[in-house]
């Protein structure tokens, strides 16, 4: 369910946050779905439970999941919407990088091609 990279400089707890949101954005996780418990997931990933607790707390703070003490932790109804709003930041990131490429003299077509390729379509060269 999760894939941890222990060597990059992105903290594990952020990877959990990021990947959880991605699963929601893609629809793999929906409202009411239960997230793996910190204990179970800590064994599965060989990661300290506290690290996962930190990630889950943040997701909860964002309104993406809610804890039912003694029961489990579940995806909220607002999760998809909240994650969707966060995607605007990624669009801003695309713009920021594009500005750099523009300043560096990279042709706009090359950048558009990178986008199109990601969407599985090809524009002519």
């Amino acid at each position: 369910m999760f894939q941890i990279d222990r060597f990059g400089r992105v903290p594990i707890y952020e990877q959990i946050i990021e990947q959880t949101q991605r699963l929601i954005a893609s629809g793999a996780l929906k409202e009411g779905d239960q997230l793996p418990s910190v204990r179970v997931l800590s064994q599965e990933l060989t990661v300290n439970p506290n690290t996962l607790q930190k990630a889950y707390s943040e997701l909860e703070r964002r309104g993406i999941c809610i804890s039912a003490p003694g029961n489990g932790r579940f995806v909220t109804g607002d999760a998809a919407r909240i994650v969707g709003e966060g995607l605007k930041e990624k669009l801003g990131e695309v713009r920021r990088i594009s500005e750099e490429l523009c300043a560096a003299g990279v042709h706009v077509e090359q950048v558009l091609n990178a986008v199109s390729a990601a969407y599985g379509k090809e524009t002519k060269d």
Copy 2:
């Protein structure tokens, strides 16, 4: 010449590397131009000279600048080409983010618009 953000999680020395390369990519720094000395720049930015030395060493390792001991540090003739090759990584980054946006159901037009906006052109909605 440089703008340091002390609060983000990008190390100062990486910001120096990044910004130097950006100045070269944009043509603001050309072959033969002298880079500010570690001592001068450390006072200007209120940053430890060792931190700048670390950044410069890495730029040198990449072949972007060369030191003339006792004289100064200068942009190499290969700098622009080397930096240019590095831009391909940024294109890959655009593609990676675009894939995420695609998976999250964001329309390709929105992403293309972000790129176009960065290039100062507008596509129709």
